[in-house]
Symmetry: C2
Subunit: 197 residues, 2 copies
């Protein structure tokens, strides 16, 4: 298994988890290589050797973040009805952005605030657009099988949910408690269409 050369003295998975935490808490630009490497428990050249430059490390961290902290998205998509899907997404998001012991908010929403010259904003925007597309497709299928009224617009429903979840991330970072976000999720569901008769 091991080829020639000195073996790594650190666990790359644990180091990446540490990088996720720093990017989550500080954002892309706010996370310095010094803080990153320190949190990862390794020196800067080791970061470059194992993960590439800062932009590549960020993309790896985002991928890891999606796997570990956005599982509620796929959970929601698998719900039997569109309403349960929307409900699961909103409550799952509200819970994810207010996890005790983790940074408040959502890495995918807050790590890059404004469109920058580099490509990091585009990476996050694409990630968000992908999630929205998944829900739009889910609602399209729901309309096709009569689970949602035919006069509903699946893209508009998906955009409504993503807008709310983006707001949840901002509010969570502001210190809004989980219960408040869940109350907003509950209220928003009263604006979500019921199963077509």
């Amino acid at each position: 298994m091991a080829g020639p050369g000195r073996p790594r003295a650190f666990d790359t998975d644990a180091a990446l988890d540490a990088a996720v935490e720093v990017f989550w808490r500080r954002g892309f630009a706010g996370a310095s290589l010094t803080e990153l490497s320190s949190a990862m428990g390794i020196n800067k050249p080791s970061v470059y050797g194992a993960f590439g430059d800062k932009a590549q490390l960020f993309q790896s961290a985002l991928h890891r973040y999606v796997e570990r902290n956005m599982g509620y998205v796929t959970d929601a998509l698998e719900q039997p009805t569109a309403r349960e899907c929307a409900q699961a997404f909103l409550t799952g998001n509200a819970r994810a952005v207010t996890m005790p012991g983790r940074p408040a908010g959502c890495l995918s929403v807050q790590a890059v605030a404004t469109p920058d010259d580099s490509g990091e904003y585009a990476v996050l925007a694409r990630n968000r657009a992908t999630v929205q597309q998944l829900f739009a497709d889910r609602f399209r299928r729901a309309i096709a099988v009569g689970d949602l009224p035919a006069d509903e617009d699946p893209d508009e429903l998906a955009t409504f949910l993503i807008t709310l979840s983006s707001g949840f991330a901002i509010r969570a970072a502001d210190g809004t408690p989980r219960e408040s976000l869940l109350a907003s999720a509950h209220r928003a569901m009263s604006a979500f269409p019921s199963t077509a008769t």
Copy 2:
């Protein structure tokens, strides 16, 4: 009116407007003094002479931004009914964050993404909390005069609106068109209580 000394060769109001635009587009950290002073049409020492350091300039810019680009808040608060108030706020916000010729999004939401060591995040968070409080008080009065059902929670209603507007800012920066945001605003209004009988 004019005392001794060489007079200013620039219009401080126009310079501050230019600074607002840069902070709006780039965020606080992303706006360098070089870009700021260049957009303001003056040299860096003139910025310090007229506006203080970067943090003070940012606070002045935020104040100007609220005056010039968040008038829809006070407009909404003056609406005769709570529903019209909420409606005016959501549509006014959706329009403000998608103004042609201006940066997409909201300076108060996006200029500082994550809680930083300096105080700029706190400045914006306080600004957002103030707006929320204004709406909570507005809805409290609405309940008192029977304009809203007595079993509604004014703070919960205000948080619902602020959450949506925060989401609008994020989505607008992502390129979501104004019509989509207005559609979400319309949908959200179907979750807002009607006047008590």
